[in-house]
């Protein structure tokens, strides 16, 4: 299971959200802050439109060769001393993370802001297994204190005002003077900085997402403004990166093109404050002792030679990357492939009149706004999330601002058509059920074919309780996980048990 969803009750969620005066008041910040800044940043770069076209080409090329780039990337990470793990689904990604934490006896892990760890429901899982996750992005920290999910992909606490944040800090930071003044926003920031600084310094493992993975060099990139992601990845002994397959880009030059679009589309900055490229663990040198004050006495050339022979004096000793599929590989080559170009800039939701009205939580799962309305049904199934594609006025603003030129309204229409035509079932699932009906009316044939199928499924799913894809049925399993058959069909079991009696 990925993170819990309430997308099926989208209509009720949305109605509730619109009746919440505090929420709708807080959401004004989205409209006021993001739209003008993005427009200004885009207009100040004459090449912006040409860059959008080029970025789209880069991602299309990458997706068409994704298997090969992933192989190149994997080889590069390994060569730089890191480890690559592949996870089919949320459950496997969580388990790999936990195993890494257990191996080093981790008690606390710090986390950089990452939508993918939200998607797989990592925090609850780690907590249930005795590892305390600490969100360090200010917005993520605030919603973690409240036990909430992010309501926006780059501004997770955009649905809250400062009075709400103040009361959460007072409720949780009980070790601080109860009479302290927290009326200013800066005092809230300073308090969070001090509280989290302690956490950074004692964490055993740091977990971040990645905005990009570079095949040429085996590099992961994070883009942040606070610097929390960097403290998360540089201080602990182990750095774990979790990223989905479509984060791949071929080269350093390619990622530079997309970086020009990302910050401008997201916050209207020309470049976010920190763009960090990480490749492998801390470098070991011939000498690993730290520089001491005595080195001042040495002459410069001698010191330079010594420095080159020595390794890093900071950075993680282990570097792991967990590459997650969770339904994405099944989107390749189909009508929703374009969605895999998404760089999670949030421009589409910042410009969405529906999002402005209802905020992010109403969408019921991790990804809100137009990108969520397209992506969520692909990842958790149209049965659960079939209402989301209706969350559109088809005004077209999302597509016009999307830096990756993703045809969001068209894809929402695709989903609506499917939902309508197939009565909430994806086309191929219906086809599968049609086959089932055909066989069910012919008992002998049915018994035979299901027995053969069960055998094959058992072989494929060996050693695992479930599997997400299955030769010849990938479009079906994209929406539902098959339980691994227990060894015999219901019919066979029933017959056997009846025979015994």
């Amino acid at each position: 299971m990925s993170a819990q969803s309430t997308a099926h009750s989208f209509k009720a969620n949305a109605t509730g959200a619109m009746a919440d005066a505090q929420l709708t008041g807080n959401l004004k910040a989205v409209r006021q802050n993001f739209i003008d800044k993005r427009a200004k940043a885009a207009s100040e770069l004459p090449e912006f439109e040409a860059l959008r076209e080029n970025a789209k080409e880069i991602k299309n090329h990458t997706l068409a060769h994704l298997d090969l780039y992933l192989e190149k990337y994997e080889a590069k990470v390994t060569a730089s001393g890191g480890y690559v793990h592949f996870a089919a689904d949320a459950e496997e990604a969580r388990q790999i993370t936990l195993d890494i934490c257990r191996k080093v006896g981790a008690k606390t892990v710090t986390k950089g802001k990452s939508m993918i760890t939200e998607e797989v429901g990592l925090n609850a899982f780690l907590e249930a297994n005795g590892v305390t996750p600490v969100e360090t992005d200010l917005g993520e920290y605030i919603i973690q204190l409240r036990g909430e999910a992010p309501s926006h992909i780059i501004a997770p606490a955009v649905h809250l005002n400062k009075e709400q944040i103040e009361s959460d800090f007072r409720r949780v930071h009980t070790h601080l003077d109860a009479n302290r003044d927290l009326t200013e926003k800066t005092s809230l920031l300073t308090e969070a900085r001090a509280v989290l600084r302690e956490k950074f310094l004692v964490a055993d493992v740091g977990i971040t997402g990645a905005n990009f993975l570079i095949a040429e060099t085996g590099t992961s990139i994070i883009v942040t403004n606070e610097g929390n992601g960097d403290l998360t990845q540089v201080l602990p002994k182990v750095h774990v990166v979790m990223a989905s397959i479509e984060k791949m880009v071929p080269t350093l030059e390619d990622v530079s093109q997309i970086l020009r679009l990302l910050a401008r589309s997201a916050t209207g900055q020309e470049m976010s404050v920190y763009t960090t490229l990480s490749t492998g663990p801390r470098r070991k040198g011939a000498f690993s002792s730290e520089v001491d004050a005595g080195s001042r006495e040495e002459n410069a050339t001698k010191k330079e030679a010594r420095a080159q022979a020595r390794g890093d004096v900071d950075g993680p000793e282990e570097y792991h990357v967990i590459i997650l599929d969770n339904g994405r590989s099944a989107m390749l080559g189909g009508e929703f492939q374009d969605m895999l170009r998404c760089i999670r800039c949030a421009a589409c939701m910042n410009h969405c009149p529906v999002y402005h009205q209802i905020g992010g939580h109403a969408y019921g799962w991790i990804y809100p706004g137009p990108m969520g309305s397209v992506l969520t049904p692909s990842l958790i199934g149209v049965d659960e999330a079939g209402h989301l594609p209706n969350a559109s006025t088809f005004c077209g603003r999302c597509e016009s601002v999307c830096p990756m030129k993703i045809p969001l309204p068209k894809m929402m229409r695709h989903w609506r058509e499917r939902e309508f035509e197939r009565n909430l079932n994806p086309a191929i699932a219906r086809y599968g059920l049609g086959l089932w009906a055909f066989f069910a009316r012919r008992p002998k044939l049915y018994a035979l074919s299901t027995r053969i199928a069960m055998k094959a499924m058992r072989l494929l799913g060996r050693g695992k309780g479930r599997f997400t894809w299955l030769l010849g049925a990938s479009a079906w399993t994209k929406y539902r996980d098959f339980a691994v058959p227990e060894g015999e069909t219901f019919q066979a079991k029933w017959k056997r048990e009846r025979g015994v009696k």
Partner: protein, 224 residues
Amino acid sequence: MTTSRDNLFASIRRSLHVKGDERLRAGIVEDRLDRAPKGIIPDRAQIDAPAKLALLLEKLVGVQATTAVLADYSEVPAAVADYLRANNLPATLKRGDDPRLAACPWDKTALDVSVGRSDGGDLNAISHAEAGIAETGTMALISGPENPTTLNFLPDNHIVVLSATDVVGDLEAIWPRIRAKYGKGEMPRTVNFITGPSRSGDIEQTILLGAHGPRRLHVLIVGA
């Protein structure tokens, strides 16, 4: 037994409808990785050296960094001491092993300079940049004992020294330099692109400086 890795690659190939001979696709991928073609480079960065420096200074101010321009490295310690004093900060400084910084006449100031990584107890740090990118006012720093990454993030006040000869126009101009140093396809452990001091907009979308990283970023450009 099939692994998740096998399943993942099989699923991608199935979705992409690729099977059998993949020499053509593999060739295309090799070629792109090899050539690393440049994309669109903004005109604003295609300018001569003095204009690049002027653009860099302008962009740095635009991202709330402060700047000073010095004639040579011998002026660095005094400039640092002045900066700390002007901001009412203690006269302490942490630096890495960078030979250009090591050779500065620190003894001519009252600064208490220590060398190495930061463990979180340093208020002020100084690093030497690999390059400065005029296009966006960005400092590029490379990890290593010369300039430990912890100095970029833990101290409250970060001073970055940049040689005027290392001012480049666009982001892509960094990559040939790194390839020349480390080899094609190779990277140092960390490359940090830093564009202004740390900030957060997470409280009611108001931008506040000094979230988790440095509250101040001061750039000293040497040799201009």
